[in-house]
Amino acid sequence: MDKNNKLAKWLNDEMTPSELADFQATEDYALYEKIKNYSSHLEVGDFNEDKVLETILKQEKSTPKSIPLYKKWFIQIAAVLVIGLGLTFVMQNYSSVTQLAQNGEKTTFLLPDNSEVVLNSGSEIQYKKWNWDNNRALKLQGEAYFKVAKGKKFEVVTNLGKVAVLGTQFNVKARENRFDVTCFEGRVKVNYKNAELVLTPGQSVTFENGKQIKTTNESSKPAWLEHQMAFEKENLNQIIAEIQRQYKVSIILKTKKTDALFSGKIPTDNLETALQIIGTTYNLNYTKTTTDKIIFQEK
């Protein structure tokens, strides 16, 4: 009788006829039957439902309604994300972008207007993405080649002077006291101290220690883009500095005769040849102490 809650089945009229017959045969059946019948005539009594309902309907409904907690979280998370993305966007656009080429490296990148820049070894450029199309200005330390997309004035600011162009290709080199600008296409305006001059394709200009040396350049691209360094009347210190940048080596010069000017091209992809050219030209011997340390001394 205890198994399967039989009494509950019986009370709910769920017993099979054979189960019922068995149950009716038991001693307690009459008593259970009586409990069943008596309990079906129990009551709790009515209550005044209408009055209660009236009371309930008088209550203010709570005003359109609190956002469930998870939705608040969702909104908070969404807000944080939006603010974060916004800040990132602002930072990216307002803060300066820096492009860098370490010694021994060259870096090529595009500006927001797709102008192309190639940074020579040991050079750095800073610019702002924000409103680039209306304010194409960047700061250069070192040497870079520019292929400028057509548009408003494009300005390269260096410690030594300023170069302003419309769409064109040109090279700017500002190292120590020497400032070289070469125009390959279009027109380039160069400001150096109080001087201002315009270069046309094939022309280049060099200022060194306040003096201007004007030369022409016949190639259509700067030599350094073709694995060469081209020098035009430059002294030994400047040449050694360039070799150090290109090859990422350190060179010690044990000579005081550095004033002789060199004009010519030195490869940037063959250190031995480069060192030999310097050695022959300036009558120096060189020794390598380690792979990246070189000493030049007088013969």
Partner: protein, 171 residues
Amino acid sequence: MTIHSISNTCNEIVFSSFFKSQAKSLRNFLFYKYGNKDQAEDLAQEAFIKLWQNCSDVPIEKAKSYLYTIANNSALNGIAHEKVVLKYEKEFSGLDKTNENPEFILEEKQFGNKLLKAIENLNETQRVAFLMHRIDGKKYSEIAEELNIGIKAVEKRIHLALLELRKEIKI
């Protein structure tokens, strides 16, 4: 930003007819639990007020389980339990009305009183399930839903209630 879906529970006609269908059995349920009719009515009213106030969040299909959840949680409020004193319908005077033998009538009366006493002495869970079936005529499945337990558990409570009642009456 407020997310607000209109629920038909806020409609007075819908709410009123839902109230009429549920109010008495909810009051009864609370009475079986606590044994105090006034308190049961107050608790039932409070549950319906909560439903009305939050009608925009509770669709009418969910309203019943909402009510019973509140009613079941009311146990947490430290309400005093009293004896569940029941009575028979006024016109009910025993099983066999044709038999007017005074001795028989007395026996019937004694049985009726014994049963009420036995029901009083049932433990709460058995009594609630048993009376929801006997007085409110609910199906076991309905009882299970309202008590938030399984049908098997309801059957067990009722089975045990009957065993207990028989034992009490036989003494």
